[in-house]
């Protein structure tokens, strides 16, 4: 077990936490943050697993850079959509009826 692998397992945990948040949280900004956490987890798995021998591997590093840019593009677009949606409907969730907070 190398320290890279430790980060890969941290990525696994992040994926789990992020997925749970993504499914259960209803506030859209929180969902978005859960998505970003999950994304970071995937990136950690990608680099940590590929570098398990300890040597840096430029290919997954480049892929993660690309992935980060795609993630910020999606996040920024989502923020624009969510803010405009809130402006028009006054809602911060996708629920049909804005009553009865469960969980």
């Amino acid at each position: 077990m190398t320290s890279s692998l430790l980060y890969a397992f941290a990525g696994v945990a992040l994926c789990g936490i992020g997925l749970f948040g993504f499914i259960r949280l209803r506030h859209l900004l929180r969902k978005l943050m859960a998505f970003n956490l999950m994304g970071s987890g995937v990136f950690l798995v990608m680099v940590g697993l590929a570098q398990r021998q300890g040597e840096p591997d430029p290919v997954p590093q480049a892929l993660v850079l690309t992935g980060i840019v795609v993630a910020i593009a999606a996040t920024a677009l989502a923020v624009v959509l969510i803010r405009r949606y809130y402006h028009l409907s006054g809602q911060t969730t996708l629920d049909e009826s804005p009553k009865e907070p469960s969980q």
Binding site: V45, G67, L77, L94
Partner: protein, 489 residues
Amino acid sequence: MTLWLMAGLLFTPLAWAVLTLLMDFRKGRVVTWLGMLVQLLVSLGLWAVVAGDGGFHYALGGWQAPLGIELRVDGLAVTFVLLTALVAAACGWHASIYLDPAKSWHRYFWPLYWFLWAGLNAVWLGGDLFNLYVGLELISLSAVGLVALGGQAAALRAAIRYLLAALLGSLAYLLGVALIYGQSGSLSLAGIARLTEQSGGDPGLAFALMLMMFGLALKTALFPLHRWLPPAHGIAKSPVSALLSALVVKASFYIAARLWLELGDELGSYALAQGMGLLGGTAVIWGSWRAFLQPKLKQVVAYSSVAQIGYLFLLFPLTWGASEAVSMQAQQGITLQVISHALAKAAMFLAAGNLIMSVGSNRVEALAGVSRFLPFSLFSFGLAGVSLMGLPPSGGFAAKWLLLQASLGSGQWWWLVVLLLGGLLSAGYVFRIYRASFVEDSDIDHFYHPPRSLEVIPMILALLSLGLGLAAESVLSIMALPFEEGGGV
């Protein structure tokens, strides 16, 4: 020659996206017409090249896989490139008349439309797992932008929901890619397929394949992950709905199918294959039933997409562990189903747009009496419906015939139930629209007449979908072409 065609195919949509971004809607429309022509000619040229000489690998930047990205230009890919060119051109043509140039935000329709087209081509030709991810994101984000265009609350809601589902799907796919790269050290699909063939199955890779299948099924809106689709496809402008239903959902399915056919034998399992098929079969019945109940016209068509997508997932059980001949039949049937559904569903959404434009309401009851005023669009809708029901001589019939044979050939008779019931149910929701439009006691006597060209486009698509059954042999022949092996160590 091939070099020019490939460069043209990859370059045109991206370049047109930039060009139309700098223009307003009217100028963008004229430029787009030119671009469609170029794209149609290039796609046709590439199709002819592959039909003549067989498929090949195309190394981008001159770097061979696994270092660089290789495109896989084979018969299936160019068939879908050509299908995309046809359907996207039809939808773009329709949009250029349908959309109101006076609304300032419609200028952004064209760049998003071209980016969408670029993403689709990238996916059909993609041979690199990560490149396919970027292509998927290109498609998803431009599709979300198209749904949100106009920015009304309901559209935004549907767009946000769509975006979240698409992002989760892509992330699951990317996680699978991360595992596969960790295991094999390569991103080239051809290379990975060769490696797994040598080393046999591997539980880590099998989990990766499952993750990718989940992500792609979510993006394809497979039951029960379909709930984002009807709002998004229902609320978008009709040409956009047509693009989304006809092409966008097929892109993620196409990747899933490619992965399955390359890696499924080693990494798949009977349970996974049957499970996917079962969900697909449920989607056919559930989607058709929901379509029958929808009060809004476009929701009917959107739920019909959920049902028709279900058929595609029969690919998994029908090819797993099946003999070469049966597997080929299933693949051909699914290919025909993709093509005929793309043509028919685009025709249906465009015709639905015309009908809604004509009566000024999107409710099914509001169609009362429309049969007297807009028989042409209604007729296109019906012809497309014939293909969805799977009646001869439509492409839908040819597809279901092949699937039926494959089911019997592999001894999985239970899929026959799905095929038969699905056809009957789809007849139900198509006739419901017809009945509503033939009601005579309508109190509205004023209908808006859309321009004639708007009515011609869905008719052409519907006729193509209908005629596909007759030309099925020649369309499918290109799939069996020899493919240059090698590439992607």
